[in-house]
Symmetry: C2
């Protein structure tokens, strides 16, 4: 609370009212008063999305255009990664001095580098990535409760302690834990922990699409839903972060293919070898704290 009160956040604008923007807007509107948030204003170029987001409590009011967001105390870009980069390139130079500019994209190197190039020095520029969300696209998929206790990655674009403190206050006000991270490390890990699982789920859905028998609906085991769930994500969003993290994503797929080949070799070598590799995988998943 002390941390919050020292950095009143003032007028917040959220650009992009999809699942993430709605989640974050609603969480910030529910922030303790010590966060010093005067209002959350919301913009989306799709009026239907904007209306749905407002009706879920993501904003106090709608902005009529993105230019109205440029002078906010805090400006949050909650767009797919290519949209964030485009915004920074086209509008970054117009963001008012004193504004804290933060984004929510799941690829950070490209965002932070574009911030450095496009945003004036007087603007506080911090790459952000709340590690929370659902696979359900749009305002309907938003659940602000998911931010509670979740990591909110922060990658400062410049040496700017004041901007970092304010960004930490944004994350905390939303209920999340601010975690300062190097953008390259973020992209390397997230390529494997998030971008790769999206590709795996979509690949699994494509494999199952080749099973044409009517009976297959009865033959979906209990593990299938969990394995394919991410394939329901919005294709434009997924294509955006995969494209923005291309080299790491390609490496991650290569590592997955190698791991699958190791498992198949062990399958050929017999049950003891296969059990051993599966045991190693189980230990690894447990060390990462994946619980029941």
């Amino acid at each position: 609370v002390t941390e919050l009160a020292s950095f009143p956040l003032g007028r917040v604008a959220v650009v992009g009212a999809g699942q993430v923007g709605t989640m974050l807007g609603a969480a910030l509107r529910g922030a303790p008063s010590g966060a010093g948030i005067e209002e959350v204003a919301l913009f989306d170029r799709d009026p239907t999305v904007l209306g749905a987001s407002l009706s879920r409590g993501a904003g106090d009011r709608a902005l009529r255009g993105v230019e109205e967001a440029l002078g906010s105390d805090v400006l949050v870009l909650a767009l797919p990664v290519p949209g964030i980069v485009r915004f920074l390139e086209e509008r970054g130079g117009e963001v008012a001095a004193g504004t804290l500019l933060i984004d929510t994209g799941s690829a950070k190197t490209v965002v932070v580098e574009t911030m450095r190039r496009s945003v004036p020095p007087g603007v506080g520029a911090v790459g952000g990535h709340p590690m929370a969300g659902t696979e359900r696209p749009g305002p309907e998929g938003a659940d602000p409760e998911l931010l509670r206790g979740a990591a909110f990655v922060l990658c400062p674009a410049r040496e700017d302690p004041e901007a970092l403190r304010r960004a930490r206050a944004v994350a905390t006000a939303a209920g999340a834990r601010p975690v300062e991270t190097d953008p390259h490390l973020h992209d390397r890990v997230v390529a494997r922990s998030s971008h790769l699982p999206h590709l795996m789920a979509s690949a699994l859905a494509l494999v199952m699409a080749t099973v044409t028998e009517d009976a297959r609906r009865d033959l979906l085991g209990p593990g299938y839903d969990g394995a394919v769930r991410l394939a329901a994500s919005r294709p434009e969003m997924v294509a955006g972060f995969l494209g923005a993290n291309g080299p790491e994503v390609r490496s991650a797929v290569g590592e997955l293919t190698a791991a699958l080949e190791e498992l198949l070799s062990a399958l050929d070598a017999g049950p003891d070898r296969l059990t051993g590799v599966l045991e190693r995988a189980r230990s690894a998943s447990e060390r990462l704290g994946v619980g029941p």
Copy 2:
């Protein structure tokens, strides 16, 4: 209820008191009285597992040895697939005439073929696979509620309408929907809908194990848990069904690798191509009825 009452199931023995045996034993003990179940007797060669299973309500009493199960009215083999095959080869000839013999393994061709070879004609022999369960091994992971409405695949080993009717009554008594299926079709689909997801989850855990930085715990996105969950399954069980369904599993991994390559090619070709392939995957996952 009429269907149940016409085929009183009598004395049921469940051999194997792990997650599946416990789930099934508890569900059968909770069956409506019309199912005509006199008792559920339970056996596991591990007394600790047997005790834990009994304390979760999976049986009315423990059997002291597997030979006590051979004369039951219904004998359920709830072992890993290699254990089912071994039981059939070593003990199949001793199962009493008039017994309904059914298993729960997730590979059906090898089980049904072994039943044909090893079990006397007077025994009703039906391969079974309840499409329900969790990734948590042992009696602790059992949840009999998961059987409610789940498909219970039945693959009769022989032309034997009476055995099939009794097997349907077992599935129904457990709360599930009996679904008669060709064992080859079962193995082909389950290789893709269940065995492949197990391999994918283990491969993902192996990939993440190479990310050594302490920070990675904070960088696990919300999709990671779902994607890796199956890696927590019991290695011996997974090795058992993968080994018993080897050719189909290898084909499934080949198809997955091809789908991943298609996605990477689309990634190289640009966002529109990638969005198109992801859209196709999303449609496929929705056609299979995977919901939010």
